[in-house]
Symmetry: C2
Subunit: 203 residues, 2 copies
Amino acid sequence: MTSMTTAKRVRLSPEARREQLLELGVEMLTTRTLDELSVESLAEQAGISRGLLFHYFRNKQEFHRAVVQRAADDLLATTAPDPSLEPIARLTRSLEHYVDYVRRNHRAYLSLVRGAASGDDSLREIFDRTRDVLTRRITDNMGVFGLTDGAAERLLARGWSAMVEEVVLAWVADPQISQQKLLAVLTQTLPAMLSVPGLAAAE
Amino acid sequence: MTSMTTAKRVRLSPEARREQLLELGVEMLTTRTLDELSVESLAEQAGISRGLLFHYFRNKQEFHRAVVQRAADDLLATTAPDPSLEPIARLTRSLEHYVDYVRRNHRAYLSLVRGAASGDDSLREIFDRTRDVLTRRITDNMGVFGLTDGAAERLLARGWSAMVEEVVLAWVADPQISQQKLLAVLTQTLPAMLSVPGLAAAE
């Protein structure tokens, strides 16, 4: 709580303050759902007034979107492929960071996933864009798996992302296998899926 | 609209009336979201009063849950494996019925999927139970793929269901490949995923 106490005393630039509020919002999502993330609790934690908070975010919805967007940006940054690694090692490393992220930010991640399914179209857009980026990291490198970048391969790559999401969330909730085995298996499923004979068959 | 006009005139038993309301609710979900499915519009379509509707469902939430449960039951029934078929043909047939269901009931299916992610815990439970049943149809038949039924295999089977859901929803929204190719590819990914070497490795 030291940083929050400091925040109370220090006069921040508007950009730095907005940044601080977003980081605090994402941090608060580690222990509560998006619905539970109220403007009041954030203002209190940040040591600023409710009124000042609305200077940065017009309303609760805009604040929620900005926090979810930040969580999505964090996820994409932390799982960014390391170009110095060989393709399979690169994939495993990204998955490792993904699993770490979901473990550390379980609530924030659920908010991202659930936002996708909520009635809020702009939360859905954030999720869709995030999944698109994750999928493109695969489809842009189809050659690695000896495959061309076709419509069916893109569908499967998107599906693989959804599979990883489901498996990792289930594993975090109930880790019955080691993280090492989880990572090995998930890494192997991508080339396995993308090598099924039906993909090579004529349309 | 003929059946609805008839409904207005015929006096139904309470069970038959409840049944009719659920079927009507699921049918209405083909063209609108769960949020848009109001008690008023259902009562109007069924030709009964709002008050009478609340005789069958205590409130809007209970009505929504019952409709989503019915959509889930329909999905499970329509995709039930045909024991007279060989394992791979059985899987393809189930997938075929699944794709048909999602095409015909796009909104209702999205309501089921999105209900899973909504704040409503009982909608989430319906979704989780449905996915459990779909997953168990696979894990109960691991021998078919020459595999034992371990924790990692169960995780992957659950992930495969999520993958199929994502792929089919994306395909229905933008069908860039033939349904035949879609079914062939999805069928093949299950044994391909469940045969990766990491599954056989020691814990």
